[in-house]
Amino acid sequence: MSLGGYHFDWSAVLSGQPLDWLLHGMGVTLELTLLAGVMATLLALVLLSLRLAGPRPLQWIGAGYITLFRNTPLAVQLLFWYFGGVVWLPESARNWLNAGHQLFGIGFPSTELLVGIWSMGLFTAAFLAEELRAGVRAVPQGQLEAARSQGFSQWQSLRLVILPQALAHAWQPLVGQYLNLLKNSPLAMSIAVTEIMYQTSQIESFNFHGIEAYAVASVIYLLLGVVLSAVLTSLNPSPAGLRSNRRAD
């Protein structure tokens, strides 16, 4: 196939070493997205409880965190943690991280990947926390009053009554944030995380078939995105009571 004098050669991307690189990159992208996603989720729950139920100073810390991490570029945060963060670790820890280890039979993440997970987890947590808070605000005040009047503590009311409803309200925006996490992951190539885009540019410098490589990378992202979106949407916790307003009889 030829277009404007350019000769397309898909085997230059889909065979041999370039294919190995791409498959490895896909694994790293998945690892980065999933681990950062888990970290962001846990941190977002902490931020949410700070903002909703914490004492004043902790509420301010939660709000300050969200302002800081939502309003600075992820690219800057990645470079900050990589060049500014890792040096604070004691030398023994840095040596240990750089040495390479096995964990459950698979390679322990490289320092670069760890910094990538860390940065993207912190960044995404701020967005998840805000989506969750919007979901909480959509729950009528009477729900909290009903729970407190029954004798539930603030925390029990949040866990048993408010959060399940908030999660149902916020689910689609939350899915969007996890998709953003996947689509932001190529920024981690700036700190040499060997994810899909890093491998793609390596193929480009290796055999100059960048167009094919970027096309294949786009298709991989598209497929990953469609699968992630479908899986998360199917996990929607909205209980039947919130999903429909149909009368049973």
Binding site: Q143, S149, Q150, F152, P164, R247
Partner: protein, 250 residues
Amino acid sequence: MIRFNNVQKHFGDLHVLKDIELEVAKGEVVVICGPSGSGKSTLIRTINRLESIDGGDILIDGHSIYDASRSLNAQRQQIGFVFQQFNLYPHLTALENITLAPRHLAGLGKQEASDLALGLLEQVGLSDKSRHYPSQLSGGQQQRVAIARALALKPKILLFDEPTSALDPEMIGEVLGVMKSLAHHGITMLVVTHEMGFAREVADRVVFIDRGQILESAAPQAFFSNPAHPRARQFLNQLLSPLHLAGETV
């Protein structure tokens, strides 16, 4: 059992509860009525501290509800509250709405809590609706589930805040019927309502409140046949014949 000692409350400049003195005996059914904005909802919401007070004290069984050595959540478990807007938990079925507190606050097992809830649903005439979500129930059915939920921890006191005001007229009867069936079985009931038929038939006492002050507290018979305070008289006239202009005397 419940005693208000010179209770005061302000919303900004508005003196919403003024020098409230009220004693309610154990098992008594008291209807609280008055014009809208008179402070009657605020009055019952102070009993389980959904509203705070600025002065005076409220005692239950001789103990101040503000006694710091008594847990607020434990106190609230002894007081069932029924809201005007039902406030059922929409993500839970009728049964789960009722079992939530017994399971998480009283430590009942799943089966035990479920048996309790089914018994309560039967008591409010809704045994066949246990698996329905609130959105699948009519207003009257939702309020009956809400009453069953309020009974789930076997409270000593039941507070009703305009329980039928959000209902279509044809559903008011079923809710009042359930409330009537609960009266005079040991639970102390305070009911804010405009349903004067219920007051006349079920209440031991009617308390009339206007502009934050208790103006009259009398047996229903006396209150309806011969209200002592002119504002109570005016209120009753408006309520019983709404087409009369305010202030007009019969």
